[in-house]
């Protein structure tokens, strides 16, 4: 067994899982209070919302019998009927729920902007403290330089790595001890771009923090733009998590789970190599 993940990284990984889950779900709850996204400083500058989730009692086609409200997702000029999911869904007790995101995606599981905000900000603090601790650890323990930063040779191998991913070809032996280049780049983008930016965009929505440097929110297009970017990054992170979990599942779910819980990862020997010749010597 190869000792792959150190204790601080394992703890911070799982704290992050809890934080991002609560932040995402309470964030959707907050979004439900005003389910529309805009660009610029104002929501009422004469431009329609970029994205909007609404419900309507209007018939689908004139003369149609109305069977209760319909949920509508509008993105730009495109409109989708999302009844049952977005705009109109059933609450936990079966009652008709005309909020944008259904109860099973939100925290709390009923509509309360006040409590959703309490959850969101409390876990935002935990997330930021955990994230800063991770950054300090990654820099000073050498984790960043040793495990995350790709070297020139790896960067040249991006094409081959893309091919390996598409063919579900997973590294064995020595290569399995390291992150592959796509994995490294994905982690670096999440750690140094998406997560800091989503925090910054959250801060840009605070009227008090907006006053720190006059006009800084304007660098990102304005407060409503910041809100839109915050929302988009949240979904990019969901996409990252889906791919991350998918890759974990197809390359050995229990092996990966064990290594992120206990630290120990079972390295499969390279083809033609006897087990125990090389994969095992680099123990703790």
């Amino acid at each position: 067994m190869y000792y792959r993940h150190r204790l601080p990284v394992r703890i911070m990984h799982w704290v992050n899982v809890v934080c991002l889950t609560v932040l995402f779900m309470s964030g959707l709850s907050i979004f439900n209070a005003h389910p529309a996204l805009y660009w610029g400083n104002s929501s009422y500058d004469g431009h329609p919302a970029l994205l909007e989730i609404t419900s309507t009692d209007a018939p689908r086609v004139p003369g149609d019998v109305v069977q209760g409200p319909r949920g509508i997702l509008r993105i730009g000029a495109h409109q989708f009927d999302t009844t049952g999911f977005l705009g109109v869904s059933r609450a936990a007790d079966g009652a008709l729920n005309e909020h944008a995101f259904p109860f099973w995606m939100t925290i709390p599981g009923y509509y309360s902007l006040a409590y959703a905000r309490q959850w969101h900000f409390a876990f935002a603090w935990l997330f930021v403290i955990n994230g800063l601790a991770y950054l300090l650890h990654a820099i000073f323990s050498g984790h960043l330089r040793r495990d995350l930063a790709p070297d020139k040779r790896e960067l040249k191998g991006i094409g081959a790595s893309v091919k390996d991913h598409i063919l579900f070809k997973h590294p064995r032996g020595e290569a399995a001890k390291r992150y592959n280049v796509l994995q490294k780049l994905a982690y670096l983008v999440v750690i140094f771009v998406l997560l800091p930016l989503i925090v910054l965009m959250g801060m840009a929505m605070s009227p008090m923090l907006d006053s720190l440097i006059t006009g800084w929110v304007g660098w990102f297009g304005g407060r409503q733009s910041a809100r839109t970017i915050h929302f988009i990054i949240a979904w990019l992170l969901v996409a990252f998590v889906l791919i991350h979990v998918f890759e974990v599942m197809v390359s050995g779910l229990w092996n990966h789970m064990r290594s992120m819980i206990t630290g120990y990862y079972d390295v499969q020997p390279e083809a033609g190599q006897e087990p125990g010749t090389g994969a095992h010597h680099e123990n703790v």
Partner: protein, 258 residues
């Protein structure tokens, strides 16, 4: 293949659904426990403390230009108070309306709209940020709260300014809106008692004849239909003790800088 995939997909879908429901009902159960509510509120205290450290007391909210004005300002919350006394004053163009300033002050005041308009005036084009998530830009004119407080001479014990309003929140004769801010915000240069919106008298929908603007806080702090300003040492004696209508009744945060 085709026959086996729908039940399997359904199984996965149902499992995920049940996991989601378990997660949420778990969160809701934990979320209703007092110890957990206390833990979550600790976040609010941390936010307020961090903002006080980061933002200088006089840090200014961004001001915009005439070009940013849409010429219309959304009304939210009460748009026409269900209050006969208020309606009578409105019918009389608020000529017999007065603003009471009392509580922990050396010199209690009773100011008419004409008196307020005669005091130093500040005009600012600012962005209104609602707790729901939307923003709207408008031009506000009014007297800085600082001038009114200076005239009333606050007692050194005064720590909060409470705004009592004329709009009943739960039908005629019910509890009227109220909010409160601390002295840092009360004496901030952009904190004004606004009587004009976009160069016209403040409309009833937006809080006539006088409303608070406290630009570095969310919209619900900006009390409309002001009738009385009370200075207090503690918020304990103000209805539920949490300092505002939404705070007392619905769990909203008193500190609304985020």
């Amino acid at each position: 293949m085709k026959t086996s995939s729908p039940p399997r997909r359904l199984f996965i879908k149902r499992s995920l659904g049940m996991l989601g429901v378990a997660l949420i009902s778990g969160c809701d159960r934990v979320g209703r426990a007092d110890w957990f509510k206390g833990l979550l509120s600790a976040g609010e205290g941390l936010t307020k403390a961090a903002h006080k450290v980061l933002a200088p007391r006089s840090a200014m909210a961004q001001e915009f230009t005439e070009a940013d004005l849409p010429g219309y300002f959304r009304s939210n919350g009460t748009s026409n108070p269900d209050n006969p006394a208020y309606q009578a004053r409105a019918a009389n163009a608020f000529l017999d309306w007065t603003l009471v300033v009392d509580g922990l002050v050396v010199m209690p005041l009773r100011l008419s709209l004409a008196q307020l308009r005669a005091m130093p005036k500040r005009t600012q084009i600012t962005r209104h940020d609602c707790v729901e998530g939307w923003s709207a830009i408008a031009k506000w004119s009014g007297v800085p709260l600082k001038h009114v407080l200076d005239a009333a001479r606050p007692h050194p014990d005064a720590r909060f300014v409470v705004f009592h309003c004329d709009d009943p929140m739960e039908g005629a004769g019910s509890v009227r809106y109220y909010e409160s801010i601390d002295m840092d915000d009360a004496f901030h240069p952009q904190t004004i008692l606004a009587y004009d919106l976009n160069d016209k008298h403040l409309p009833i929908a937006n809080g006539a004849p006088l409303r608070l603007r406290v630009e570095r806080q969310l919209g619900y702090k900006h009390a409309k239909y002001l009738s009385r300003i009370e200075l207090v040492a503690s918020l304990d004696a103000i209805r539920g003790g949490k300092g505002g209508y939404w705070e007392d009744g619905y769990g909203y945060q008193w500190y609304a800088g985020i």
